[in-house]
Subunit: 167 residues, 2 copies
Amino acid sequence: MGLFSKDIKTFDDLFVHQLQDVYYAEQQLIKALPTMAEKATNKELKQGLLDHLEQTRGHVQRLEQVFKMHNAQQKGVTCPAIDGIIKEANETMGEVENKEVLDAALINAAQAAEHYEITRYGTLVAWAKRLGRNDCAALLQQTLDEEKTCDQKLTKLAEGTINVRAA
Amino acid sequence: MGLFSKDIKTFDDLFVHQLQDVYYAEQQLIKALPTMAEKATNKELKQGLLDHLEQTRGHVQRLEQVFKMHNAQQKGVTCPAIDGIIKEANETMGEVENKEVLDAALINAAQAAEHYEITRYGTLVAWAKRLGRNDCAALLQQTLDEEKTCDQKLTKLAEGTINVRAA
């Protein structure tokens, strides 16, 4: 996408642009999650992050299916939002000394990424339906549901264990 | 916060750091929302963004109250996440030609910012309670509730009007 060209002409273009943005975001998360899991001390958090890594790989495959179904170019476009979320996670992690506090910071960072994906997939589902692509919407909805479930699990883990130990 | 020092030593430091991060984020939104409102074509969306600008000013004041109550340094720390979300919004807006499609892109951008705040305030409320600061938690909860209501309104507007016109 050129910054100074008007590459998005139709609602369909916007949908495809957003798909490509999320495709990039998921790929960045695949790179970031192993480091986060490595830094986590709490076993449940470590495992949760590794499980989410596996799930994220599935989200990438699902996006590739949507690209194919919609006959859209399968590529990632740089997504400054996820780059910023990951940059912030790395910066904050670098500043935390105590392991229990670091776990709390890690879960906060993971939830920021989750929420980013929840908003984007929520939009993508709505847009797909509006474009008459209920087939694409159904696939994207599966990912959305998984992201929401993951966020709820992280909240439960944070409130039940991680924050208690950090405080 | 120094990038190479370990400035966050306790859970309380992490809480204050997150407060300062959100304080910066709200201020960036105060700068970004007027441009977004100006670019919006749909009257309801334009008004919604302006209303949210007012609400955001209230969130800043509420954070200043929390800084005071918690005896923490009232300052913003650069938040690459919101910077990325705003940068992405500006880039996408610059690429959209059609006004109705631009409205859909604007609402998508606003919801990404909302969700960022929802996740951060959600964490702040949980952390404040864990630190025994139910007074701070109650104030932060008010903002969280407003962010959630705003997000729901935007979803309703997107699905009921904006996406229909864009498609």
